[in-house]
Structures are given as C-alpha cells and as structure tokens.
C-alpha cells in the first residue's frame, strides 16, 4: 500500500528532494517558492539529508553555485520563481550549454511589472529557449513525481541536460492535496547513484568548462545541443513508464483526456488541466464530443505526439497563460499550430489567453472556449484567432 499524505506542492517537492538527497542545493527566497526551500532546509538541519545547503544573495548567485557544484561532479537542485528565474537568465544558458543535469523546481509566477506574486507562465516561457527541459505538473502529486523523474532523465547519459519542473504558483504550491509518496529506498533505487561526468574534482583528469567559442566552433556546439535536447523525448517516455511500474502512476509526454472520439479539444498546461477535465465532463453530459490534451513536456516539444493526438480533431482551443508580446499568439499556440502545419489533416485552432497574474479560470470559461471553437468550425471561417477568457474589456 502506498503511503498517502497531505502535502501542498511545495511540501511535495521538498519531500522529493529529501528522498533524492542531492549533494548541493543553492537557493534564494522568493514567493511562492520559499516554503519549498525552507522545508528542505529543515530536512538538512534535522540531518535527514547529506546535502550542502547554500544560501546566497541573489538568484544569479544561486544558479552560479549550482553550476559550479554540478561541474564539480555533484547532484544539484534548486528552486525559484518569476523574477528570480529572470535573474538567473544568463546562467540558465551556461547550465544547458555545459550539459549540467541540474534539476530546478519553479513555482510559476507572473513577471514584474507591475509586481504580482500569483500564477502565470511568463517566467518559464521566457526561459523556454535556454536549452532546459520543461516538465509541467497538474497537481502536487505530479510535482512530486516529476521531480523524481527529472533527476533520472537529466542524468541519463543520452540527456545530460538541466530540467525545470514547474508547478502553478499558489494554485498548486500552496494548496494541500492528497499525495502518494514512495519509500525512501524506492526513490533511491529508482534514481540510482550519481556519477558526475568530467567532474572538476577529478584531479587526475583536468577539464575546462566554458572557454571561448567563436565563429569557428560555436555553431557546431549549438548543433550538438539541438540534437541532445531532441534526443530526450524517448528517455522522458522511458523514465515515465519505469516510474509507472514503480508507483502505478504512468507518465507520458502528453496526456489525453476523453480524446479518443473527440471532435474538439482544449490544449493546456499545468493546473488548468484539472479545471478543463470538469468542463469536458460537463460538456460530454450535454452530448458534446470534447476532450483535453495536457502538455506535460513542453521542452523538447513532442511534435509527433501532438500531431497524432490533435490531427484527427475538427477544432482546438489552445489555452495560453503567458503572452509573447507582438507574436502571433501565445507560446503554446504557436508551437501547436506550427506542429500541425504538415499534419495529415489540420483542425481549426483558436488561441485563448487566460489567467495572467493569477486571474482565476473556471470550468465555464473553458466550456465557452470549446463552444466558441465549435462555432468557428461550423461557420467554416476563423474571424478571430486570438481571444481571451475571464478578461474585462
């Protein structure tokens, strides 16, 4: 029997971190992540982990410390949110370019300005091109499960890349839910012992990290990074299956909900998928053939799985919780739409922005989005590609 506890998302990730027992954690406080790091600090203080916990004066330093520790050969974790992530920006690229398998929990929070501490996805979406793997979580359980899987994925020799495991700020990070946890031993065996590759601490084999790389080789190195992240998809799938065997909770790149015979679907990230399930159940009761595609893995973008899942549909509502100012639609919309360009059949796609700065989204909003999508398909013409949910105009 699995052990069941009441955890909020922060506690769930802190507990996963305890079971992972990383060599180094370096972090700086920022709402709504602080609670996670403080809980982990308690585990350190109680001697329940062997981790070195480094408190720093900024997130830039936090990520720098993580990079140093990972290059030295350690298993390294951190956590942040919003402007903390933004302040790490240049270091995010260093971590990915050096192929350092750091795992970072991000409680998604809106970016300033103006200052807002609540959930949207502007922070991690802004970091989507830095070369990290991005795994989104629908609830505290998934935040816990994703964190454990992230270690195994990041450290896989075919991957060796940093991973962000995200959870919606406050909505997941601060809401207590039922979470099934594994035994410490099970986690330990699942992730295995860590062996750093090319560690700086291997004094017999000195190595150099990050020397100058100009027009002569930079481009080839980026090419190899492109290949590296693209190659992660099968590893993420494999680890998801293995985790399923261990826990009974299977993980794939994407998750469909009532999609099999659906004509219309919403595509969403994070906690909104839970809200969408309600909307779909209620529309199904009214006889509508609707479903949900939850994007768990956003980077690398699982293009083929998206085509397979969405191409048979008539219409799709893509829900974006962040804006790409001046772009044609939000980040999720542009990816999904682009993936479907050479699909065997192309459904109509509408983009709905919602929930910026923590604005609540309700099942009725999602029902409305699906209904609007159906209307557009029936009318045979998209007048408006971009729409909004829950906004005063």
């Amino acid at each position: 029997m699995a052990k069941v506890v009441g955890f909020n998302g922060n506690a769930a990730v802190a507990y996963a971190m305890k079971q992972i027992n990383p060599d180094v954690v370096a972090a700086y406080p920022i709402t709504p992540q602080t609670d996670c790091v403080e809980r982990f600090a308690e585990y350190v203080s109680e001697g329940l982990v062997d981790s070195e916990f480094i408190t720093v004066e900024s997130e830039h330093s936090a990520m720098s410390a993580c990079i140093g520790a990972a290059a030295a050969g350690g298993r390294v974790m951190t956590a942040t949110a919003a402007n903390g992530l933004a302040l790490m920006w240049e270091m995010l690229y260093i971590a990915a370019s050096m192929r350092l398998p750091i795992v970072m929990m991000v409680t998604n929070r809106a970016l300033s300005g103006n200052i807002n501490i609540h959930c949207d996805h502007a922070d991690t979406m802004g970091a989507r091109d830095a070369g990290w793997i991005h795994l989104f979580s629908e609830n505290a359980q998934e935040a816990y499960d994703n964190t454990i899987q992230a270690i195994k994925i990041a450290e896989d020799l075919g991957v060796r890349l940093p991973i962000m495991v995200t959870q919606d700020g406050f909505i997941i990070s601060h809401a207590v839910e039922r979470v099934e946890i594994l035994e410490d031993e099970e986690v330990k065996n699942f992730i295995g012992a860590y062996k750093g590759r090319y560690p700086l601490l291997d004094l017999n084999n000195p190595v150099t990290y990050g020397p100058i790389d100009l027009f002569d080789y930079y481009f080839e190195h980026k090419r190899s990074q492109i290949e590296a992240i693209d190659n992660c998809l099968p590893v993420i799938e494999r680890v998801g299956k293995e985790f399923g065997e261990l826990s009974g909770r299977n993980y794939e790149l994407l998750e469909g909900y009532r999609l099999e015979d659906a004509e219309y679907a919403v595509v969403a990230l994070g906690s909104t998928c839970g809200t969408a399930r309600e909307a779909i159940d209620s529309l199904r009761e009214k006889g509508k053939k609707v479903g949900l595609l939850k994007m768990r893995c956003f980077r690398p973008f699982p293009r083929e799985s998206v085509i397979e899942a969405l191409s048979p549909l008539k219409g799709i509502a893509v829900l974006d919780r962040s804006v790409s100012f001046g772009g044609f639609g939000g980040p999720l919309f542009t990816e999904v739409r682009s993936a479907l360009y050479d699909a065997p059949s192309r459904p109509s796609i509408i983009n709905f922005f919602y929930g910026l700065g923590g604005r609540d989204i309700y099942p009725e909003d999602i029902e409305k989005a699906l209904e609007k999508t159906e209307e557009v398909v029936k009318a045979g013409k998209i007048e408006q590609h971009i729409d909004y949910l829950g906004l005063r105009e």
């Binding site: 406080p29 920022i30 709402t31 602080t34 790091v37 403080e38 600090a41 308690e42 350190v44 203080s45 916990f53 408190t55 004066e57 900024s58 402007n83 300033s112 300005g113 103006n114 200052i115």
Partner: protein, 284 residues
Amino acid sequence: MGNLFDSQVEIAWCPGCGNFGILRALKGALTELGFSPEEVVLVSGIGQAAKLPHYIAANVFNGLHGRSIPVALAVKTVNPRLLVIAESGDGCMYGEGGNHFLHALRRNPDITVIVHNNQVYGLTKGQASPTSEEGFVSKAQPWGNLSLPLNPLSLAISQDASFVARGFSGDVDKLKEIIKEALTWRGFSLIDVLQPCVTFNRVNTFAWYKERVYYLDDSYQPEDRIKALEKSLEWGDKIPLGVIYQHQRPTFQDKIYSQIEEEDLIYRGVNFDDLFSRGLRLFT
C-alpha cells in the same frame, strides 16, 4: 493631524513594526523642510520597507527587488530639481542590489538612500539578510547564518561616500532630524535605519536596540574620515547613532552637466507650450 503627504493606501505592515517610525519621521522631515508632494520622488525595490512609498502621497517608482538606486540616480540626473529618495530594505539595498550600492558610492549622485535595516528578509518571511548576525537562526537556515554581517557604514565611509548616518526607528524625532540633514545634503546620502522587525527578528528587538544605541554628541566631528571609520566599526554593546561621516565632493550631476554644457536634461528639446496645454506643471 493630517499631513500633506498622507496617502489613502491601507498600510500592510505588522502592528508594532519599526517601519511605522520611519514613515512618520520621513513625512515629518518632508513637511518641515517645506516640500510639496509633487517635488518628491520615492524610488523603491521589493520588500516590506519598499512598500513605504505607497504610504506617502508623492511620486513613486516601484521597480524590482534590488534595483532602486540606478533608477533614483537616473531620475535625479534627468531632473535635478526633484528631491529623489531611494527607499528599501537591507536585503534589497545591500544584497540583491549590493552592486548598485557600491557604484552609487563612487558616483555620488545627489540622492538620499534610506535603508530599513531589520537584519532580516521580512517580506519573504524571515530568512537571514546581508546584515543578519552570524548564527542568526531562520527557517531557511535552522543551523544559523554562517556569514558575517555586512557593515554598510564602514563600506560607505571607506569609499568616501558623501554623507553617512545611522538612525533608529524607535526614536522618530531624532530620526526625522537626521533625515532632514540627509535630504538637504548635496551629494549621496545614506541613512541606515535600525528597524526592528517584530515578527521575524527576535534577536534585534526594540529593547535590544534601546539598551545599546546612543547619539554622537556635539564634540564628534563627522569630517574626519579615519575617526568616522572607527566609529562605524562600533557595534555590539554600544551602537552609535547620528551623522557619522560627511564630506562634500562634486556630484554625479555636476560632472555630467559640465560635460554636456546644457540645461537640465528634462528641458532638452521639449515643446513646453504643448506640454503645458496638456496639463504639465513645472517645479523649479
């Protein structure tokens, strides 16, 4: 009694917080010096201290955690006729924004930096800040802070900062006088204000400070840099308050304007008739 600088915003500090004293002292200083709200710009970062500008009716620029000083410097440079105050916490000014602080010391902009030093990160609920005592226990460091506290006054004096003072939020009248001196000082002025955080700092409480603080008397000469440095190192059983160091030197604006030989940047190439017709008011 009502004050010209009263704001309608509801205050979100804990009852008994040391920030209230700083707010009262600052409002008093601005009033007694005869400023009007339109002439004053408060620039802040993020934190409990950084909320203060919301509670004063004046111009406010609220940006990012740690980043108030460069904004304040630029505001003052573009419009030297404004009174510019950067206001934030010890974490914001000395930690996340520490680099800006260092370089402001070098540049000597004519701004006043008021640091609410509660020796803790208040807003994020009580982690050790750059001024927390070694061994300070917090939820993020249950084993106690491993670093030594930064001494902002010594740092500022060592870099020949123009005006360096320490105040105590538990003594509003005297703090007000120090703030008045800083606001009328030409050049960079730093006031590090000892501000008890009644919720998260159970070490450096009102009582703790009251037992230790004392004011420099008239015989003290703040122009002597070496003496000032010595004074700034005094901490523990006795903590000096007042103006610890002052030294006039050319300001950032003096140097910029001598280079560009122009009137204030704000007047450059502006069509005032147009602006006035759209409601602009000028303060000279």
